[in-house]
Symmetry: C2
Subunit: 216 residues, 2 copies
Amino acid sequence: MLYALKDLVILDRFIQLVDNKEMIPKDEIRETILAVASEIFSRYGYQKTTMDDIARATGKGKSSIYYYFKNKEEIFREVVEKEVLVLKSKILVAINAQTDPREKLKAHILVRMKGLKNFLNLYNALKNDFLSHFEFCEQLRTRYDKEEIGIIKEILDAGVKNGEFQIDDTSVTAMVIVTAMKGLEIPLLIETNPDTHVEIRLDKLLDVFFYGILIR
Amino acid sequence: MLYALKDLVILDRFIQLVDNKEMIPKDEIRETILAVASEIFSRYGYQKTTMDDIARATGKGKSSIYYYFKNKEEIFREVVEKEVLVLKSKILVAINAQTDPREKLKAHILVRMKGLKNFLNLYNALKNDFLSHFEFCEQLRTRYDKEEIGIIKEILDAGVKNGEFQIDDTSVTAMVIVTAMKGLEIPLLIETNPDTHVEIRLDKLLDVFFYGILIR
DNA sequence: AATTGTACTAAAAACATAAAATGGTCGAAA
DNA sequence: TTTCGACCATTTTATGTTTTTAGTACAATT
């Protein structure tokens, strides 16, 4: 039992989303609407995005949108949740591709740091909005952070059992890693203009960060 | 030349501030006004703090305030700058009390993490204000972060020369340390209610963080 | 000469209200 | 099953008015 069963279900769902051939038509249109809405929400935030905007951008009438979604709030929540879901799934895929704990950790961090961009854009756009929507995002993140700490703890534990890592308290260490990643998000987001640069920078940073800031 | 001359001047200024016996009366009143204003700004932000509030809280008339300060903006800026100045000075004092690079670094981080509380309160109160004041704070911090990276780099370099640290690129490492500290600010601020707890937590975190997350 | 209180003004914030835009519904049509 | 146009209640915004506040001038006080 490497990762919780729940996570594997999410993973399946992700793969289904990526090669969306098996999607039934209704879901397909839902996904289209969500994609379009995500784009607009990320650009203008919650309030300045109107249902008419979403309808126009999808080339449909407003009532059609209401056929697929209960209300604006539902669209918003699904957009945010999907963003997190996709990232999490990508991370799980990347982890599963590696066997060595050290490589697993590295893959996790790389994918997470690069993949969070979309979510952070959305997050940023929400800052000028009603508190409740920002808070929804924040709560979702906090919940996700906890899961992420758990995932990383598993990797660390494996590494400790392996003899590769020597860590006193893997819970605290996992917590520190996640917190540090959050701290690195913003500067990375800012300097993300030339995409080629990022990878190098990030890689270098991670080397310094996780393979010994100070070596005794 | 351990730290820049400029820093030592700031250090002197700080010591002068702390045992404020040598202060000429005018400066003393200025400092009182600044202290009071800092309190109010931290609580209500920039806009909701009125000059009459500051005057009333200091027990003086409004024109007296204008005798000591050009305008509200000047008070605000001095409050913010002083907050940063005091923190920086405290850090320099703490560093100078240690000789071993490792202890210097530890002292730096401890003082900085614990001392930032006031500034963060101010920072937080400003979030509902005009962007310009928030940005002023942010710019000041960014500028200060750069200085801090420099200070830490010096410590790291000393440790490398010493043979105590083995670091490829001390600039990047210093940058990572500062960034990580910024990332840890918020969670620490939240859990800062019982003061005794913080110290223990922080210490444990730092041990994990800087004395080897992963040990080869 | 340094400091403070009173009275004042121009600008900005807070408020109230009318006009426009928006979330959401309904029944008909495709 | 899905789309559409017309519609309503509510919210947002635009507007004009009143109140508050930053900053000044100057006499009074120390």
